[in-house]
Amino acid sequence: MNSFPQWFIEKRRFAEKFIEKAPEPKYGLKLDWNKFRLSAEKYYRTMDIDDLPPEVKGSLQNLVFPFSKNIAANIVHVNETLVYEKIIREMVPRGVEIINIEDAIRKYDWLKNYWFRAFPLTLNKLSAIHGAYSKGGAFIHVGENIKVKKPISSCFVVASSRYAQLSHSIVIAEPGSEIHILTGCTAPLTVQGSLHAGLTEVYVKRNARVVSTMIEYWHRKVHSRPLKAVIVEDGGEYVENLIMLKPGLSIQAYPTVILKGKNSSTILRSIVIGTDSSDIDIGEAAYLVGENSKARLITRGLALDSSYIKQRTKVWSKASKSSGYVECSGLILSDKAKLETYPTLQTLVKDTELYHESSIGKVAEDQLFYLISRGFSEEEATALMIRGFLDPDMLDLPEPLLSQVKSIIDLIVRKAKM
């Protein structure tokens, strides 16, 4: 700790003092933060992904893509340690830096201008705890005009019980650069009563483009609170695909994008599948600040078993000539499941166009019978409709990731009780 720069140490002290007076998070299932350890067993670095401990490797296999050959770089964090890193230099040009966040803090004094700038440290108790005690995380820096064609995979595994994984990652895309980051979050089946609360801040500079695809795959005994905030400058574009395949005990996520620059834009898409008795509070927000900024938010929620899904979407505008579109739909497939949508549109100016479409319901009988009368059994027809409703094609994912996501969705839907 003593080797950290002064600014960092001061920020931590401030956060520590703030925890006491910070409010509880507004959304999501209430958690007792004292129940989680803030540090956990250490894992050691390996040179080969196959040499990772079997329980860690097994959980990564749920996400499939860390083992894909179609990725430009591959980093794996277990608990608070970076355990595996492989960068394929032919695909990742010089000028792209992918390192552990603690190394970056020691190396770059200017990081103080990014640390908790997009995400407010004082938002709530969880962000304050994060500010005081975060450990681990990735620092990804893409130099000016560098375009990384293939996705970079960055995974977080919670491998210890009753532990809070508080990683803090920072992504900076310099002007004109492009990158696609695939984040996977998961845990081995043996882990109980843990919390994943990875915090990510993304800075999209002038005319840069960042695509972030986040896949969460938990089992019944883990809580997840991914925290994310993004600032987009002039002409920049940020695309997010949030794919909640297995939500765990509870999940709350509300990635927030600030379109600060002129002509900046964002597309935020999410697919959420509620299984078991998960408590899911998920949404996304876009703040239109720069003139002519554009936001498109699309969420799809599928409630199975006895899950409870709340879908929140928000577009707020103070930018002239800006536009925001929200499409929020939910499908309930079980009598015990619940699903609610909360779309919000707010504006401080007149020349902005904000609109939303929202729908929730059960599988329409006439549509189901239409498919059955084409020779499909009831299960096959339902699966077709669900696949169609979730519409993974809309995510615009590169292959083989798209096919992998589709097959995982099929598997989950087949296992669920209608």
Partner: protein
């Protein structure tokens, strides 16, 4: 020799009897037309044959290709070779037309390459633009487009019996010609066609072997398709009540 035999069928929807004691036989590889006033139970008859659970069969039997199918589930009936087209097919969000047609072709046993080729044939025959393949099934399709897409599914599935519910309603003359061409083609391929229609227009392009007229809980069979013209001129009431008949029709 009959592909379909309906024997004294009584069907109710929401506890209300819609058709009562209806019997009808359709020979293999024939082309029959069913006409009748609104609410006479034409769609109910077709839905009973396909086994829509909303349509409760209270008594009677449905024999398809010599087999009693009255109590088997819909998808089993479809597997045996029955196809039904809808008056107003629903939109299925996210299920792309191209993906769906290919799925139907592959379930018939075609390989990926064969399915791709056959799909191209079907859509070009039906004048469906290739760009439609990427659209959601029936989403934003016009009346004529929806009906052509119904026929595309029929051609992909190659059934033994096609039950077409008002396939000629709400479409323009171009779509009508395309659909009539498709009906002639599937008849040549050996499919039995049973077409519900309100209009005689389509009968200028396709020539049925027989016309059934349904109403007042009875069904009459005519071998002379001039009956369609007579119905258009004096109405169903007149024909069903036997006030006028084809023999004493002075028309033409």
């Amino acid at each position: 020799m009959f592909i379909l035999e309906i024997d004294k069928l009584t069907t109710a929807v929401d506890n209300k009897i819609i058709i009562k004691n209806i019997s009808l036989r359709i020979p293999k590889k024939s082309f029959s037309v069913l006409m009748g006033p609104n609410a006479s139970g034409k769609t109910t008859l077709i839905m009973s044959i396909i086994g829509n659970p909303r349509y409760k069969i209270l008594s009677g039997r449905i024999i398809f290709d010599g087999e009693n199918i009255t109590n088997i589930p819909t998808y089993e009936r479809v597997k045996k070779g029955i196809f039904v087209s809808y008056q107003a097919p629903p939109t299925i969000r996210g299920v792309k037309l191209g993906f769906f047609l290919k799925l139907l072709l592959k379930r018939r046993g075609l390989s990926e390459a064969e399915a791709e080729r056959e799909l191209k044939n079907i859509i070009s025959f039906l004048n469906i633009p290739e760009s439609f393949l990427k659209r959601d099934l029936n989403l934003g399709f016009s009346g004529g487009e929806r009906k052509r897409v119904e026929i595309a599914q029929l051609m992909a599935m190659k059934p033994k019996l096609a039950l077409l519910d008002e396939i000629d309603t709400g479409i323009d003359i171009d779509s009508m010609k395309v659909i009539a061409g498709a009906i002639n083609r599937i008849l040549n391929e050996g499919t039995t066609v049973f077409l519900i229609t309100h209009y005689k227009n389509i009968l200028s392009y396709v020539i049925p072997d027989r016309v059934f007229v349904m109403g007042n809980n009875l069904i009459k069979e005519y071998r002379d398709i001039k009956i369609a013209k007579l119905i258009e001129r004096c109405g169903y009431g007149c024909v069903l009540e036997g006030k006028c008949d084809i023999e004493d029709d002075q028309y033409e």
